[in-house]
């Protein structure tokens, strides 16, 4: 059937929410009883509504904050930069607090059970822009612009800039690390894994421990417990700041029933 219904999406939404006037509701029912296109749209909306409803708690947990929150965040972050800059710790300048966001794929009902999905949750590594004196190179400018999106939780929008920055300077582990994290947080698990592996391949950098740790999380997202264990063991061997977290996670994974793993 050739359907020329305008505003199909709005009509379907109104129909599902019960906000259509009775005569319009009846008309739409009569219409989709004979229209494959509109019925397919309706069913798709219903399926989407069901899935959103099932994952509502997790979606609300990562719900974007109002602008006011971000104004305060920026103020706090700025204060943190000044303090950290005074101390002069170069690498630690790149991190500060950002909101808690679980990975997008954590909402997936993994066949190995919800516990695995829970273990795959992670807080996005916080980032605070470094105070740079002098003229920034293009890669750094791209990175800084992209990380503004990252700080606001728009990980998908951060990806293009991070990708460009990493291309311009493929030796910078920070660029590649945050590209990997943004990919993971945008649901692009495979791309995220590839970037984190690239970060690890750069050798002994300040990001190697975290890259292993978040690779473990990505593996859990994919349901690959063995790969997750391998990455966590790498974190343990590094004996860094994530040692205890990695050990705890390893313990939880290894205590899971074999059938669940």
């Amino acid at each position: 059937m050739l359907c020329a219904l305008t505003n199909r999406q709005e009509v379907v939404e109104g129909y599902l929410s019960g906000s259509l006037a009775p005569e319009k509701r009846d008309s739409f029912e009569e219409h989709y009883f004979g229209c494959d296109e509109c019925f397919a749209t309706l069913q798709a909306h219903r399926a989407l509504q069901a899935e959103l409803s099932a994952g509502a708690a997790q979606i609300r947990a990562v719900s974007p904050r109002k602008p006011g929150f971000w104004r305060w965040s920026v103020a706090i972050a700025t204060a943190a930069i000044v303090i950290v800059a005074a101390i002069g710790i170069r690498w630690s300048m790149k991190r500060s607090s950002t909101p808690t966001v679980p990975p997008t794929q954590a909402m997936q009902a993994n066949p190995t059970g919800p516990a695995l999905a829970e273990l795959a949750h992670f807080d996005p590594p916080p980032y605070t822009p470094a105070v740079m004196r002098g003229v920034q190179d293009e890669a750094t400018r791209k990175f800084s612009a992209a990380m503004k999106q990252y700080q606001q939780g728009r990980y998908d929008l951060a990806i293009p800039g991070l990708r460009q920055a990493a291309k311009l300077n493929p030796e910078d582990p920070g660029f590649i690390f945050f590209l990997g994290i943004s990919q993971l947080l945008s649901g692009n698990t495979d791309e995220g894994v590839a970037a984190l592996q690239q970060c690890i391949a750069l050798g002994d950098t300040p990001y190697v421990e975290e890259a292993h740790y978040y690779l473990a999380k990505a593996s859990l997202q994919k349901g690959d417990v063995t790969a997750a264990e391998k990455e966590l063991q790498a974190v343990v061997q590094l004996k860094g700041s994530l040692l205890s977290k990695a050990q705890e996670l390893l313990q939880v994974i290894q205590s899971r029933a074999p059938v669940a793993r």
């Binding site: 999406q9 599902l16 008309s27 397919a40 069913q43 959103l52 409803s53």
Partner: protein, 212 residues
């Protein structure tokens, strides 16, 4: 949702001459006792009746019972040649369904009961197997994971909480236009995925291909 301001073209939309021929042909075949025509009619309209009944009644079990009653009433009417305008069969079926749903509501007035909204299995009756249902869910999840967390929030507020884009804009700190654009884009991404599935799995018996 404020749909009063948007153009609402439903009547006479999609009423294609080919479709009128298809419906008239089907009605004629049922009237002549063609059992395969009855089966085609059931397979085509059953998911639609169930969808409509679930949306109105919020009770999937009752919706299925009503769908059976509607199909029975329609087939009996067609066999007895009681359908005056065979080319408007979808309208006849939806009208019959509406009447039975309304009858059910009238009965409920005498015997009020609590009904649960089952959002877990919204369109299972449109799919033939559990595998297809599982695939549909997987596609929805995958599509939802591909969009940003902000877009997921906008969809949740729209489709589950029934909020107006204006309210959502205030909630998430975006402009009204931005919310509308993001919502439409996100829904399109997800529905495109699902429609690909429904096109491959739903063997609509009343398509032109099967009736020619």
């Amino acid at each position: 949702m404020d749909v009063g301001s948007v153009s609402f073209i439903i009547k006479n939309v999609g009423v294609h001459s080919d479709d009128s021929i298809i419906w008239a042909d089907l009605v004629d075949r049922v009237r002549r006792g063609d059992s395969s025509a009855e089966e085609e009619l059931s397979r085509y309209f059953y998911p639609r009746i169930v969808a409509m009944s679930v949306i109105r009644l919020r009770d999937p079990e009752v919706a299925q019972e009503i769908a059976q009653d509607v199909l029975l009433a329609v087939v009996v009417a067609l066999r007895e040649g009681k359908v005056r305008e065979p080319e408007k069969l979808p309208g006849f079926v939806s009208g019959t369904a509406r009447n039975l749903v309304n009858n059910h509501f009238r009965c409920l007035r005498d015997e009020p009961r609590t009904v649960e909204l089952d959002l877990e299995t919204p369109s299972s009756h449109n799919l033939e197997t559990e595998a297809e249902l599982a695939e549909q869910r997987e596609r929805v999840r995958a599509a939802l994971e591909r969009i940003s967390s902000q877009d997921r929030t906008i969809l949740l507020l729209t489709l589950v909480e029934g909020m107006h884009p204006r309210e959502i804009a205030l909630r998430v700190g975006l402009s009204l236009e931005n919310v509308r654009t993001r919502k439409m884009r996100a829904i399109r991404q997800v529905t495109d995925q699902l429609r690909k599935l429904s096109r491959t799995s739903e063997k609509t018996p009343l398509s032109r291909e099967t009736l020619k």
